[in-house]
């Protein structure tokens, strides 16, 4: 036989043989039998096959711990407190844990392999998290870089959530991206419309999920969603809400406002909504929100442009949203019932707004925001 054939054949045969040996050893060595996962002191328990990471095993049982990277140990989101002994923290976990979490034995669930019975603690709201299969019903361009995407839920057919919560899109591999990833987006649809999920997605240059949504996603396409997550929601106090958003940070507020108006929930709450953009090119939903302001006396909408062009016919406020917020708190907003902050936008905007609010006497514990973005 020609050496041209024998060489590749031997190399391939040897690789196949070694792969087979690895697979066989994996079956024998990684057989940990049945393992019991006990959650929140007996509230729930699952008996599963051991040998796989905790995150994936829980997901297979229908319990979805939030994870943005899908279990590769690169996002640090899938934290779980472990009460039983699973060995010391791994070097792959340490960068994502602070000293307090380490002392409480908080672990990354994607890094812990199930080898024996385990007791863990999870927030109760994760029990209602589900994986949804959905179909894209419509995609609308709100601005040059923000799209409004409406998903129709196929299975399960309805979602139960609180206005302000977020959901994760499962982005399949595409183009240069070889692995599936998950990214979180606040839902802009109302809980009442439980057969749909609407998201506002701004194109981030180089962003894996946002590029996929903007360049690849088509109407009629099947998409998997995991949620709901998060505790960003309206708090039941008489204090007035100071809501500040920029860009796609509009999403949770849209859900909150329409839900509140329709149910007349929290009737004592005054609502101030500050929406900041650079130019009219970045503004959207203006007419809807101005209409809402007319129809709903306790809702006040303040839109501000930070860099209005001279030739633009702009009726609203101008200046950085933080300056506008400062001016309104000082001059126009009644403080007799107290104030609460609700923020959604870039980390820079959130920090700047917290600064303005605390300077104006809003307690830091009364300022709410989601830490992703």
């Amino acid at each position: 036989m020609s050496p041209i054939i024998v060489g590749p054949l031997v190399a391939a045969g040897l690789s196949a043989f070694l792969a087979l040996v690895i697979a066989l050893i994996d079956r024998v060595v990684n057989d940990y039998g049945e393992v019991t996962i006990d959650i929140n002191g007996g509230k729930r328990s699952y008996t599963v096959r051991g040998g796989s990471p905790l995150l994936g095993t829980l997901a297979a049982e229908g319990l979805f711990v939030p994870s943005a990277c899908g279990g590769r140990g690169s996002c640090g989101a899938c934290k779980v407190r472990v009460l039983s002994d699973v060995g010391p923290h791994l070097p792959t976990e340490m960068p994502y844990l602070n000293p307090e979490e380490v002392s409480q034995n908080v672990r990354l669930s994607c890094q812990i392999k199930l080898k024996k019975n385990i007791d863990i603690e999870l927030p109760e709201e994760l029990f209602s998290v589900k994986k949804f299969s959905s179909t894209v019903e419509s995609i609308r361009e709100l601005t040059y870089d923000i799209k409004e995407v409406l998903f129709k839920l196929d299975e399960p057919k309805a979602i139960e959530f609180v206005a302000g919560q977020y959901i994760q899109i499962v982005v399949p591999p595409y183009g240069e991206i070889k692995e599936s990833v998950q990214r979180a987006y606040s839902m802009s649809s109302r809980p009442r419309d439980d057969g749909h999920v609407e998201l506002l997605v701004r194109l981030v240059p180089g962003g894996i999920a946002t590029t996929w949504v903007h360049k690849y996603l088509k109407v009629g396409q099947k998409v998997e969603l995991v949620g709901p997550f998060g505790d960003f929601q309206v708090h039941d106090t008489p204090a007035a809400m100071l809501c500040v958003a920029g860009g796609s940070g509009m999403a949770p507020f849209k859900s909150m406002f329409y839900e509140m108006k329709e149910n007349n929930s929290f009737p004592d709450k005054e609502i101030w909504y500050f929406f900041g953009a650079r130019t009219t090119r970045d503004m959207f939903y203006l007419d809807e929100l101005r209409q809402l302001e007319k129809d709903w006396p306790r809702f006040h909408f303040v839109a501000a442009l930070s860099e209005p062009k001279a030739d633009e016919a702009w009726q609203g406020d101008t200046g950085l949203i933080t300056d506008v917020l400062d001016k309104y708190i000082k001059e126009k907003i009644g403080k007799d019932k107290g104030l609460e902050g609700y923020l959604c936008g870039s980390p820079g905007m959130i920090n700047a707004c917290i600064n303005v609010m605390t300077k104006n006497g809003v307690a830091e514990r009364d300022i709410y925001f989601d830490k992703f973005a």
Binding site: P3, G7, V10, A11, V29, T92, K115
Partner: protein, 197 residues
């Protein structure tokens, strides 16, 4: 022709006089990056020794009973790499199951070792020097121990230099490279005492 060198002599020679790190300069990358810390150096050195001993034995068998009879020695690079990767993978699984404590100190370094050139280097030396089975295993084990010794020495020295008044421009990698140079000179001083060819 199998060279006549005694496996025991070869074992000690590859630890000291023909140290794979300090006379052949193989495996430098992890040598420099991990040696900041004595404990990690210990774990990595142990892992290298472990893998090197086992992979030289397996590679010798593959070379002798597969590549040589089929006259495929020219494939040795690719075949040895495959063998190293598979052996490391199997070791990782077995250690994970057998001893979680050992896995914690050694297992996390195993994937690093797949691409450590000291391993492939030692196996290729084994091939070109025509070692027999016992010679190969003692050469592999000795080279591993030599690598372990070298990284422990360097880690110990680095823990000292960290606290020493090193000129600002030489802090970190600079003084480390100079240290390695001195160590290599010391080890090369032994060369020629035992011919390992």
């Amino acid at each position: 022709m199998i060279p006549l060198i005694n496996p025991i002599t070869l074992f000690f020679a590859s630890i000291v006089t023909s140290n794979i790190l300090l006379t052949n300069f193989l495996g430098m990358c992890s040598f420099i990056s991990i040696s900041k810390d004595w404990k990690s150096s210990f774990g990595l050195g142990m892992a290298v020794t472990f893998v090197l001993t086992i992979t030289t034995a397996v590679s010798w068998l593959v070379l002798k009973y597969l590549l040589v009879p089929l006259q495929l020695e020219y494939l040795s690079f690719i075949v040895f790499i495959i063998v190293i990767a598979a052996v490391v993978q199997i070791l990782e699984m077995v250690i994970d199951r057998a001893s979680p404590a050992l896995y914690l100190s050694l297992g996390i370094f195993l994937p690093l070792i797949t691409v450590n050139c000291a391993i492939l280097g030692a196996i290729l030396f084994m091939q070109i020097r025509n070692y027999g089975f016992l010679q190969s295993v003692s050469f592999g084990a000795g080279s591993g121990l030599g690598w372990w010794l070298a990284i422990l020495l360097l880690a110990a020295i680095r823990e000292r230099t960290e606290k020493s008044p090193v000129p600002a421009g030489l802090k970190g990698p600079g003084i480390t490279i100079i240290t390695i140079g001195f160590m290599a000179m010391a080890f090369i001083g032994f060369s020629g005492m035992i011919a390992v060819q």
